[in-house]
Symmetry: C2
Subunit: 130 residues, 2 copies
């Protein structure tokens, strides 16, 4: 089995996730890292974290990709079945860990992962919009 190592860059990335209340893009993380490592390395760290189920990937309607740290204990087969909210105004993406969609699927579909992203105005922007 391929063992995964703790490097300075990976530790720094995890620290950034720890401090952030919102999901982060590769670019945002790279900036926050202050070029502690090459951007390719950051991509590879994110890939590893996703594979190890420490972080999950969120794809927005506008195509941007963000990452957020999981708040659960990884299980055998992991499905991120909670919703995400993407604010069209402040562009922040947040996990709605308590919002889980229910749906009825036709037979013979095997679901491995879901992406449920709502976009619109977050409470902060909604209120300042009145």
């Amino acid at each position: 089995m391929k063992t995964t190592r703790n490097t300075a860059a990976k530790t720094a990335v995890l620290e950034i996730f720890g401090k952030s209340k919102t999901a982060l893009s590769h670019t945002e993380i790279q900036k926050e890292l202050n070029d502690l490592c090459d951007r390719v390395t950051t991509y590879r760290i994110l890939d590893r974290l996703v594979n190890d189920d420490i972080v999950h990937k969120i794809v927005n309607l506008d195509g941007t990709v963000k990452y957020a740290k999981c708040h659960h204990h990884a299980q055998r087969v992991h499905i991120h079945n909670h919703a995400h909210f993407s604010c069209e105004k402040c562009l922040e993406v947040t996990c709605l860990e308590n919002v889980k969609p229910s749906y009825i699927l036709p037979h013979n579909y095997k679901v491995n992962d879901i992406n449920f992203t709502l976009s619109g105005l977050c409470p902060k922007c909604f209120n300042s919009n009145i």
Copy 2:
């Protein structure tokens, strides 16, 4: 008001959508068009079709973007509230027009659009996988 025109390229794109059972990427459409027009034009046509609610955009977990023709009559405020299925094996993306997620959102969120994409194995690949 900006009027929208019917051009040869736009007509060809719509014909391609008419024939396709699955959602199509810009690249797939461009190939199918056999370079009838420049790729930039195809991007602009797709943008227009999305704006006019004739086509809707689907963003996959892997980041790929696809488009599908709407099967509804455009309303005032349009939310694509049906699910999409993205097969990890054949890579096809299909509209599940009858699958609509239900969910309960905290107060003060204003939803303008949703993206509910399930990924896994489609019935075709699921069966050929046994």
